[in-house]
Structures are given as C-alpha cells and as structure tokens.
C-alpha cells in the first residue's frame, strides 16, 4: 500500500522496513518527515488541524508516486500523511523512496514532497493565542514544484 491517510501517528523505522521488504536490489532509502512547528509567521502555534478531501487525496498521492516512478529509476515509494488535530513536534507526513542508488532516491523523494505540497488536497488550520487561522499557500512552494 504505497499511500495512506490516517489520524494515527506512524513509526518511521517500521514504515521503512516495510518499504524495503527484504528486497536486496535496494541500495538506497531516501526519506523525509515533516513535523508541526510551534511557531509560524512569528505567532505561536498551539495546535494544528489538518483537513483533506477524502477520495481525491489518495488518488492525488498515488498519481504523484506514479510520476516519480516514471521520472526516476526507483523501485518503490511510500507516502503516509496524517489528518486531524496535531500538536507541535508531531509528525505530519512521511515520504520515502527506495532505489538502487542515492541520487535517484533523493531526487524522487524531493519531487514527491514538492508535488505533494502543491497538488495534494490537504489544508492546515492553526490554533494560536489570537484564535484560529487557515495557513496560506506559499508562492515559494509553487516555485519549488515548477523546477521539476
């Protein structure tokens, strides 16, 4: 199962172990873990609520992995993304790629995250001392995604 959306936390070591699945062709595992920060735009973040669009989310993530597999010589990839209420320090997302060599694995992993941040239907709402606010999309994320 290369894509999961869940409220529960995930265990990175166990996820990577599952992705390797004793495939001895694999020489490289590249992974990225995104975390909730306690501050955003100079304001304290107490909790964060992540919403998604069930049905589209899984499809969008699977399409991103398909594109990564077309562009780079990798064996497999995994995305786990959490939704619901999270607090600073919590894990939000895991993207991991396995391949023969590090170059392709690193590039594919970065591509997956850049595309996820601009194409997968997730939205963050922050709870701050001044009240709730939706996180605004950043132009820099679009620029990063447009490199590929």
């Amino acid at each position: 199962m290369p894509v999961r959306v869940q409220t529960e936390d995930f265990d990175v070591a166990r996820e990577l172990e599952g992705l390797r699945a004793a495939d001895t062709r694999i020489g490289a595992i590249a992974s990225f873990v995104g975390l909730v920060r306690d501050v955003n735009e100079a304001t304290e973040v107490r909790t964060m609520t992540l919403e998604h669009y069930p049905g589209m989310t899984e499809k969008a993530l699977a399409q991103i992995i398909d594109q990564a597999r077309e562009r780079w010589d990798i064996y497999d990839a995994l995305i786990v993304h959490r939704v619901g209420e999270l607090k600073p320090g919590d894990q939000i997302v895991l993207a991991a790629v396995v391949g023969a060599h590090r170059g392709e694995a690193f590039a594919a992993c970065e591509f997956i995250m850049d595309y996820l941040k601009t194409r997968a239907p997730f939205w963050k709402k922050e709870q701050t001392p001044a009240g709730e606010r939706w996180v605004e999309a950043r132009a820099s994320d679009e620029e990063k995604a447009s490199r590929w």
Partner: protein
C-alpha cells in the same frame, strides 16, 4: 444534477459543505460554473471573484477553466493546498 463540494476555508465562508444543484444548460465548463456561482452575490461573489486563488477538482482530478462539467459530476472548490 451535480454535486458541489466546498472544502477548508471556502466551506466555512459559504457555510455549506456540499450541495446538489441542477446546472442551467449553458453552464458546461468550470469557468461557467464559477461565473454562475458568483451571481449568487455576497461571499460567493467575493471569494470566487476573478483573480482570487480558487482551485477546482472535477471527479477528483484538478480541473481548469475549460474543463467540462456534466450531470453526475462531483465538483469540488477549495483554496490552494497547504499539506505536507
């Protein structure tokens, strides 16, 4: 009938998560749908005004202005995404 779905901030400002609507015959694309919704005025006119960042998905695929909309479609309107 089409199913319209509103997500994140748009759901909050419109005060509705989803609705089934009968589209007039002349509303055959995403751009025409947005113009038709804009004519409701108020928050609809403000949020869907040209130049505002609104994303649309038709049947779970990202759509553009010229993407056709047909009876039976699920059409979602949402702000630019902020996951990851």
């Amino acid at each position: 009938m089409v199913q319209l779905v509103y997500l994140a901030r748009l759901r909050e400002v419109f005060g509705v998560a989803a609705e089934s609507v009968e589209l007039p015959r002349e509303v055959g694309t995403v751009a025409a749908l947005l113009a038709w919704l804009r004519a409701r005025g108020g928050a609809w006119a403000a949020e869907l005004a040209p130049g505002r960042a609104v994303r649309v998905a038709v049947n779970h695929d990202i759509a553009r202005g010229e993407t056709p909309v047909r009876a039976g479609d699920e059409i979602a309107l949402f702000p630019p995404v902020t996951g990851g």
